[in-house]
């Protein structure tokens, strides 16, 4: 492991006179990425609320926005804003860890606009024309990859994503190679390269449905329960080093143990998706056993965050960032660990597979792990990029209110969907006289109304979060 002595000399200007709170001017390319992430997050939740209404008022906005269209927009915006968040985090974190300017800030800016425009065009495509038309005009016939959950993007968009990822990875890899190599930057890079590599399986779409499904999970599961956890761990470790002042050696040791457990349990844990899709029966054993251990790395993440904060050697003025870091630990464990475990054993999954139980877990896990870790990073870095060590007290109070509103609302969304899911399983899948799907949905509509109400609270929290960026400007500027 090379040391800072080997790192490139401090570029002229070093800490920019204009902003003494960031070490390298090029780190600020992260800012537009974070702004875009938050903007797309708002869009995601609006479409979530539309679908939430369609669950109870079936013909709401039909035929203008059929449910499947709203769902594509909701989930694809989610993935895209998280990717914007990861990229922003990469552009901020890698120069700082590498102790040198980003290889090419210009490339990072170009990549930003390419990604934003491609993403926007894709969403417009979903909304403006029937999906089959979109498939036709984007040349899906040449290489059919569309029409699978989460991978609905036109093939050309997928190619665009790969190019954006390559430009991003090239930029960061060059920075790391020329600079100091830390465990945090190494883990971050491993995670990001893994993200790009596993995405390539989205181009494999055989006619054989079982093979299609088998390798579809190499994107979806090996992302969220594999390489993304490396990215998450690295981001969390980076922020914890900064806000707690705990010795880097200790933090990086934790990081390695956590991600070791992630891959030891999570890779074979993919088997929890191979119970009922035509794959051999032995996956029920492999999948159940290994995925039952998957909560371990998430629990360690919680312990990690709390331990480091308890052992802190400084009082960082950015209390909101510390709250987000602790919150990520807790909510990732609840959403992924506890709600994942709930339905991961094959005999249980036999009953819950593809029900509202799945939706409940999907929501809390995505929010608790990935949405929250991105907001942790934003919370820590945005004030620095805006020229202050932390936001004013007033702004932080608003941000913490937003944290609690969104987080508690998500807990309730999860609980209501879990309630709906249990009743759905009971009525539709158990007993001698099972009800049909639609009849069951009618009977549990009450829970969907409650979920929608919790969703509105979530949305209010998100708006408050945005407000927090505009609170107490003058006060902070002085500080």
């Amino acid at each position: 492991m090379s040391t800072s002595a080997k790192a490139a000399p401090r570029p002229a200007g070093g800490p920019t006179p204009a902003n003494m709170h960031i070490r390298f001017a090029s780190q600020t390319v992260a800012k537009p990425y974070f702004v875009a992430a938050i903007g797309l997050f708002v869009g995601q939740v609006i479409f979530g609320l539309i679908m939430g209404l369609q669950y109870v008022i079936g013909d709401f906005l039909f035929p203008e926005i059929p449910f499947n269209v709203a769902r594509m927009v909701h989930t694809n915006l989610l993935i895209v804003w998280l990717l914007f968040g990861f990229m922003g985090a990469g552009y901020y974190l890698i120069p700082e860890e590498s102790e040198r300017e980003l290889h090419s800030p210009l490339l990072a800016k170009i990549t930003f606009w390419v990604f934003l425009v491609a993403g926007a065009l894709t969403i417009v495509g979903y909304l403006a024309v029937p999906y089959a038309t979109l498939a036709k005009i984007t040349g899906n016939d040449l290489l059919p990859t569309m029409g699978r959950e989460f991978l609905e993007q036109p093939t050309i968009t997928k190619i665009g994503i790969v190019l954006v990822a390559l430009s991003f990875l090239f930029n960061l890899s060059m920075t790391v190679l020329k600079g100091r190599k830390t465990s945090i930057s190494l883990v971050m890079m491993l995670g990001l390269w893994g993200l790009a590599i596993f995405f390539l399986f989205s181009f494999y779409n055989p006619h054989n449905l079982v093979l299609d499904k088998y390798f579809w999970w190499w994107v979806v599961h090996l992302w969220v329960e594999g390489v993304w956890e490396l990215i998450m761990g690295a981001m969390l470790a980076f922020v914890l080093v900064k806000v707690t002042g705990v010795d880097r050696e200790i933090i990086e040791k934790w990081l390695y143990v956590i991600i070791a457990m992630t891959l030891i349990t999570g890779i074979i844990g993919t088997g929890h998706h191979y119970f009922w899709i035509g794959t051999p029966g032995y996956w029920q054993v492999w999948g159940s056993v290994f995925s039952a251990l998957e909560p371990i790395p998430f629990f360690m993440m919680t312990l990690f965050a709390f331990n480091m904060v308890n052992k802190r050697r400084r009082e960082h003025p950015n209390k909101a960032a510390v709250l987000w870091a602790l919150g990520t630990g807790v909510m990732a464990f609840l959403g992924a660990g506890v709600w994942g475990f709930l339905h991961t054993l094959a005999p249980v999954n036999y009953l819950t597979h593809g029900t509202q139980i799945t939706a409940s877990h999907g929501h809390m896990a995505f929010y608790g792990a990935y949405a929250m870790v991105v907001m942790t990073m934003i919370s820590y870095t945005m004030p620095l990029m805006r020229g202050r060590e932390a936001n004013s007290n007033g702004a932080q109070v608003v941000e913490m209110w937003a944290f609690w509103l969104m987080t508690i609302a998500m807990v309730f969304i999860t609980l209501f969907l879990t309630g709906a899911g249990i009743l759905q399983v009971w009525m539709q899948r158990m007993g001698e006289q099972p009800l049909g799907f639609m009849a069951t949905q009618d009977k549990i509509a009450f829970f969907y109304w409650l979920r929608e109400a919790a969703g509105v609270v979530f949305f209010a929290g998100l708006l408050l979060y945005i407000v927090s960026f505009f609170v107490g400007k003058r006060e902070a500027a002085r500080g």
């Binding site: 013909d59 059929p66 499947n68 059919p144 569309m146 054989n208 051999p280 899948r429 049909g436």
Partner: protein, 141 residues
Amino acid sequence: MSASFTKSTARNIFYGGAVFFFLLFLALTVDTVQTLPKRDNRANLTEQVARGKKLWEVNNCIGCHTLLGEGAYFAPELGNVYQRRGPEFIKAWIKAQPTGAPGRRQMPNFHLNDAELDDLVAFLKYASEIDTNKWPPNIEG
């Protein structure tokens, strides 16, 4: 964590564990792929089924329905709809959409011709004959 357990030990566990379990996963994948011909109904994977799968995809049926339990949870499971409803019902159903019943969840009309409907039904029949370890628990899906 104790001081005798060093960062480089942790790092080695990470690399060793990742490589070992990824290789194990690859081995299980090879075995799965070799076992699949007995389970995945490929004998009936005709040209027509392949066309049906493509229609399934370019109309984004997965955006409302589950297929073998994966997809969206807004509309009925279709992995076993061939057994639940039969081919004629499925074709008539798709042609008759949307129901327009006030307040009821709606499925769009996809303007499919008769040949395309046959392709879709062939795909749903093929999917329904995959060996899924007896999932779903009952005919309602």
